[in-house]
């Protein structure tokens, strides 16, 4: 049996080797091209899985920064968001993000096999590779949505997730993605003199998510007890720094797919360069954040070290495919510093439990601008100018040159902010006026786990053992030695002799 199988395998191998040999040169080129595309898609598939893994990262990060009574709610939140945003992206979002006019895509709704997307020479029929890229886009959209809720933990109504996830997955994120990556206003086809360079989405994904979170936070208000009667912020410590750390590391690993996968191909193993840049910036982000927080507060803040890693990663997201290795640690270091100053400043006015506004918002803005500072002439996209740094050395600081590129990057930041904030604020305002944005005071105090979900994330922290059906602890488990009174007094005399 074994022999037959291996014989069959050998024959199959021989056929596959022989076929190209007897084919014409043109056929060979076609086969190689097809295989190259398939290899590219294998890499995108790996990257997609890594980007979806980031959902686990957000889950742990947000739950670790929450109190015990809100731990289970975080799980339900991530799952329902992923559920809704997937359907919204498949039905509408992908279409809006793809080819179309200057403002939005017009084809590809209810994505299906064999569907023709686009018109004229650019038209294509949907096949396997397109499904792969569509799924990769969805993973990005889901990351962006996950960022939104960081600011709203421990007090938001569950129904808000449902409504906003539909709007976000169908309209908000796709509009931004279309503008920069889908041939819209900010891309090379747009009216700007230069295209915006955002390799993997410092502004498209991270700033978008953070601005959505800002809109929600302004309408939601702080958690009960966050600000004392004197108006000063008080710390509401999350329940588990180890869980926060796990979340940060999962996000860090997932980011290799996020940035590396944005190459969409394996040619020249360019993804290796992107991933090294990613690592250098994340590392520098930790160093920057920990250094600055130590200078400011004389403590080596664990949560801030995590925020620093995330800020470094967010900062390098846009430049990861455009800068040389020397620039990556600079970008990460500054992102790490920015996140600390950001958290300390924002904390005075807004209750952002995980620091999403700083780590994704401010670092996202910095990352987008950093492309305009450090983009290498070797790596820039067609029609764009290198970073301002190179302009200083070769004298090209004109508006039509490097300074113009920096300006275009700034335009992307402002445009993203305005569009996302306007739609998000309107959506949350409507939710607030109709079904309500926030749980009642009583529900907030008892925790979202029991009040919204009817179950505790950590039941044994809230339910006494005696109330479990089994009743009280039975100390005499078979095989476990039980200390008798004599034995206890033998080993630990009460009075020293």
């Amino acid at each position: 049996m074994t022999k037959r199988l291996s014989l069959a395998a050998l024959m199959a191998l021989a056929t596959s080797l022989a076929l190209p040999a007897i084919a014409s040169a043109q056929d060979i080129t076609e086969v190689v091209e097809a295989k190259a595309l398939e290899l590219d898609m294998v890499w995108v598939a790996v990257a997609t899985a890594l980007v979806f893994l980031m959902q686990a990262g957000f889950l742990f990060l947000e739950i670790g920064f929450s109190r015990q009574k809100n731990a289970g709610a975080g799980v339900a939140k991530i799952l329902i968001n992923l559920g809704i945003v997937t359907i919204a992206w498949w039905a509408i979002g992908y279409g809006i993000s793809g080819t179309g006019n200057d403002f939005f895509g017009t084809d590809g709704f209810f994505f299906s096999f064999g569907q023709v997307i686009g018109s004229g020479a650019d038209a294509f029929e949907v096949a396997g590779a397109d499904a792969m890229l569509m799924l990769f886009g969805l993973a990005f959209c889901a990351v962006s949505l996950a960022i939104v809720w960081g600011t709203t933990l421990e007090r938001i109504k569950f129904a808000t997730y449902v409504v906003y996830a539909v709007v976000f997955g169908a309209v908000i994120y796709p509009l931004v993605a279309h503008a920069v990556w889908g041939g819209g206003l900010l891309s090379v086809d747009g009216p700007l003199s230069k295209p915006v360079m955002d390799f993997a989405g410092s502004s498209v994904v991270h700033l978008t998510g953070a601005v959505g979170g800002l809109a929600a936070l302004l309408l939601l208000g702080p958690r009960i007890g966050k600000y004392g009667s004197d108006g000063k912020p008080r710390a509401i410590p999350g329940h588990s720094m180890p869980i926060v750390g796990l979340g940060v590391m999962i996000l860090w690993i997932g980011w290799f797919g996020f940035n590396g996968g944005s190459t969409f191909e394996t040619s020249g193993a360019f993804f290796g360069e992107v991933m090294l840049n990613t690592q250098l910036a994340a590392a520098a982000g930790v160093i920057g954040a920990l250094g600055v927080v130590y200078m400011k507060t004389k403590t080596l803040d664990v949560g801030m070290a995590g925020n620093g890693a995330i800020a470094g990663l967010v900062g390098i997201t846009a430049p990861s495919g455009f800068v040389e290795y020397w620039a990556a640690p600079i970008i990460g270091l500054i992102a790490g510093a920015v996140v600390v100053y950001g958290v300390l400043a924002i904390e005075k006015y807004l209750d952002d439990p995980v620091g999403a506004l700083s780590a994704h918002g401010l670092a996202g803005i910095w990352g987008t601008l950093a492309v305009g500072l450090f983009a290498s002439p070797r790596l820039i996209v067609e029609g764009a100018s290198p970073g301002f740094w190179y302009g200083l050395t070769d004298g090209d600081v004109a508006i039509g040159g490097t300074l113009g590129q920096l300006g275009v990057q700034a335009v992307a930041v402002v445009a993203t902010f305005v569009v996302v904030f306007a739609i998000s604020y309107a959506t949350f305002a409507i939710i607030k006026a109709t079904i309500g944005l926030r749980v009642s005071e009583e529900e907030e105090l008892s925790g979202l786990d029991i009040s919204t979900h009817g179950m505790y994330g950590y039941p044994e922290a809230f339910i006494p053992q005696e109330e479990y059906p089994v009743g009280r602890f039975e100390p005499s488990v078979a095989g476990t030695p039980v200390a008798t009174e004599t034995a206890a007094s033998d080993t630990r005399p009460l009075v020293k002799s």
Binding site: G454, I463, P464
Partner: protein, 123 residues
């Protein structure tokens, strides 16, 4: 000497502590307790099945004071802990026979609450 033992909602504690501190009664202890009363239990649903938890978390304040300060403490607790709904808790006042400060061995009412000049600032 009296000991005031109050079972209250968690969120009522901070205003009570602050006011007692302002009124010169800084020494008290708290413990997390679980108990039952007229307030209904919590029903937890766990993947389709349910579990009724008949005891609810409360906070117990214990505060030993001079007889003359009893009314201040009781009144402060009543004012901040009362919401008017079932589950606000109860206050018990019990007599205390002796009080001894461990550090010095002093006895009597003098050791109950902190005195002028003897406060140790919180760091």
């Amino acid at each position: 000497m009296k000991k005031v033992e109050a079972f209250i909602r968690h969120e009522a504690f901070e205003p009570i502590r602050q006011e007692l501190l302002e009124r010169g009664i800084p020494s008290l202890s708290i413990s997390e307790v679980k108990g039952s009363g007229r307030q209904k239990g919590v029903v937890e649903h766990y993947r389709g099945a349910s579990l009724t938890v008949n005891v609810r978390p409360k906070l117990k304040i214990e505060c030993v004071i001079d007889d003359s300060e009893k009314d201040i403490v009781v009144e402060t607790i009543l004012r901040h802990a009362r919401t008017g709904s079932v589950g606000d808790g109860k206050i018990f006042v019990v007599p205390v026979e002796e009080a001894i400060r461990i550090r010095t061995g002093e006895e009597g009412e003098d050791v109950l609450q902190a005195h002028e000049g003897s406060e140790v600032p919180a760091t």
